[in-house]
């Protein structure tokens, strides 16, 4: 053990090593585990035992009650959605999921345009955000000095906290005019292809997807970087020792090792994008139609809830909206479960190999 440089500089030739409190090699007798019984034996207790045992039980039961109320709340939400949507489920059955007429006046409701809009905007968002986020995560985790990476991650994680209505405000006044001016030349050039056919309003499917991408990129970066940093250094060292370049190391060793964690990060972002309401409803145009064009106004499940729920025309309309909420609930439940499994998977293997 090296001596402390501060100790008697130069005075003594022999510096004594400091004794560590627990000398290694000397087995210390392990005390028996301390329980309430060893500490306060029942027979010799000075306090009347029942009194503190009563308080103990009361505290434990109170805490248990609050813990169980989480279970009750989650259950109540699921039950409430199921019960309130009964009228719509009886009226339309499963065809609710694949009919595309949404007409409150004639009480005909099919959720397909909303399901399509939600899936399409989410797909666009992921297509943009995944490469950007993953690239940034690689840069932050593998290239940058730890300090700088930490600082930038701190900044990016703050952006997770920006309220979605603020992103929506940005979307309305910055992104929509921008998409209008970018979209117009694209439409002139490629308007023959249905995917890019006009007119270009600025609001629409693509705008919502781009805005969602901006919103979920910080998630992918934050979780992705954490997963990459969890890859053991020995893996990198091994690849570098075999003569791989740094990029080859990242590409062929680090990324495959972190694959399920990265997938988990993507699914987490996906779950956020699916349930996102305010920002999307402000820029998507809110028209329940399935159009081929990316520039066309569309609608999502969350957006239709925000727009129509407060002014539902009839009981069936209300029930149909609750059923949309139920479908959305189900989808996010599945996506979240997959994300948790994937992220837990990486942590599990990491622990097993360590």
């Amino acid at each position: 053990m090296p001596a402390s440089p501060m100790a008697n500089a130069g005075r003594r030739a022999i510096a004594f090593p400091r004794l560590s409190p627990a000398t290694p090699g000397v087995a210390r007798p392990q005390p028996p585990p301390i329980t309430r019984e060893t500490v306060v034996p029942r027979t010799r207790s000075r306090r009347p035992a029942p009194r503190w045992r009563l308080a103990d039980t009361a505290f434990r039961v109170t805490a248990l009650g609050f813990a169980l109320s989480v279970l009750a709340i989650t259950g109540a939400i699921a039950v409430e959605l199921f019960v309130q949507s009964a009228a719509a489920r009886h009226a339309f059955g499963w065809s609710f999921l694949w009919t595309s007429v949404w007409d409150p006046v004639f009480s005909k409701f099919g959720a397909l345009p909303f399901i399509y809009g939600t899936l399409a905007t989410t797909a666009i968002a992921l297509a943009i955000a995944t490469p950007l986020g993953l690239g940034t995560a690689i840069c932050l985790a593998e290239l940058m000095p730890r300090r700088l990476g930490d600082g930038l991650t701190f900044l990016l994680e703050l952006l997770v906290a920006v309220p979605s209505v603020v992103y929506g405000l940005m979307g309305v006044f910055v992104l929509v005019p921008l998409m209008r001016s970018i979209g117009a030349p694209i439409e002139r050039l490629l308007g023959g292809i249905p995917l890019f056919s006009g007119p270009v309003y600025g609001i629409g499917l693509l705008t919502a997807g781009v805005l969602l991408a901006v919103m979920i990129v910080p998630y992918i970066i934050a979780v992705g970087r954490e997963v990459l940093l969890a890859v053991p250094q020995a893996q990198r060292d091994g690849a570098l020792a075999l003569g791989a370049t740094r990029w080859e190391t990242v590409r062929q060793v680090v990324l495959p090792y972190a694959r399920s964690g990265i997938l988990g990060a993507t699914f987490l972002a996906l779950a956020r994008a699916l349930g996102e309401t305010m920002a999307v409803t402000m820029v998507i145009g809110n028209r329940p139609e399935i159009a081929a064009s990316l520039f066309a106004p569309a609608h999502t499940m969350a957006a239709v809830l925000a727009n129509e729920f407060a002014e539902a025309a009839s009981d069936v309309h209300l029930a149909a909206l609750v059923e949309v909420a139920l479908v959305l609930f189900g989808i996010t439940l599945v996506v979240n479960a997959i994300a948790r499994l994937l992220i837990l998977g990486t942590r599990g293997t990491e622990r097993a190999r360590a």
Binding site: T136, M170, T332
Partner: protein, 268 residues
């Protein structure tokens, strides 16, 4: 290929810094003292502010804290200190599910349970919706920070003859208090910017909300209403409100993260 990752980083940072800068620029030019002290003016009349929305947001957050903090905090204490095996697993799973439910769906549930029976929109219903939203984060951070408290403290307290509940209340919770408080602050900050669950619970209000059982204005909902309205003056007010809201939310986050020393909370 690393050049591509650097380009991605530059793009992301560029976009995000531009957004923040633009918001600060627009918001600062629209912000004035009137914003904090005046009621909204009728359409076409210049000036006015969002004093009622600021107070409304504060009232909603108060109700949210009253609902969310006890459940999240004591639930977290149970998970950390009385690990009940199957019960703890079920509660954690339920909290995960609750965390994943889109906030608008929570709003719809609260509408069905608290607005329809009472017959009108109310501050109370909006606050409860926000309270439900903050439970999962409050619960998990409380549990996490109590688990960081070393077992030796528990052993020492028990060895001195303290019953378990005294150990938890007087020793373990004070030791983890700093982390728990920041966790609760983060969970409040998370719901402070929520708009969707308020749309059909607290609704909105052009005037002061007279009580807890009446609809109330709130900053996020005001931003939404003003942003999609066709009046320039309202747009300016929306930018000012967005800047104030962002300052509150990010301020709380910065304080919390600095207090925690950079622990990641992105996944909670």
């Amino acid at each position: 290929m690393f050049a591509a990752t650097v380009a991605a980083t530059a793009t992301v940072l560029g976009i995000l810094l531009f957004l923040l800068g633009y918001l600060v620029w627009q918001g600062a030019s629209a912000l004035s003292l009137d914003f904090f002290t005046h009621l909204p003016t009728p359409v076409g009349e210049a000036g006015g502010g969002m004093a009622n929305a600021l107070v409304g947001s504060a009232k909603l957050l108060l109700v949210a804290a009253v609902v969310g903090v006890p459940v999240g905090f004591l639930g977290g204490v149970y998970l950390a200190e009385y690990d009940g095996g199957r019960v703890a697993f079920a509660v954690r799973y339920a909290a995960d599910v609750l965390n994943g439910i889109p906030s608008i769906v929570i709003g719809i549930t609260v509408y069905g349970l608290l607005v329809v029976p009472f017959g009108h929109f109310s501050t109370l219903a909006g606050g409860i919706a926000l309270g439900l939203l903050m439970i999962p984060v409050a619960l998990r951070t409380t549990e996490e920070f109590l688990r960081l408290v070393p077992d030796t403290l528990r052993d020492a307290s028990l060895a001195l003859g303290a019953p378990q509940w005294v150990t938890v209340v007087r020793v373990v919770i004070p030791a983890g208090m700093r982390g728990i408080l920041t966790g609760l602050l983060l969970s409040l900050a998370r719901v402070a910017g929520e708009t969707a669950p308020l749309l059909f619970t607290a609704l909105s209000n052009r005037y002061w909300s007279p009580g807890w059982l009446q609809p109330t204005a709130s900053l996020p909902v005001m931003i939404f209403t003003y942003a999609i309205a066709p009046y320039d003056d309202w747009h300016r007010q929306a930018w000012a409100a967005a800047l104030v809201l962002l300052a509150i939310v990010l301020g709380a986050n910065v304080v919390a993260r600095l207090a925690l020393g950079g622990r990641s909370t992105a996944q909670t």
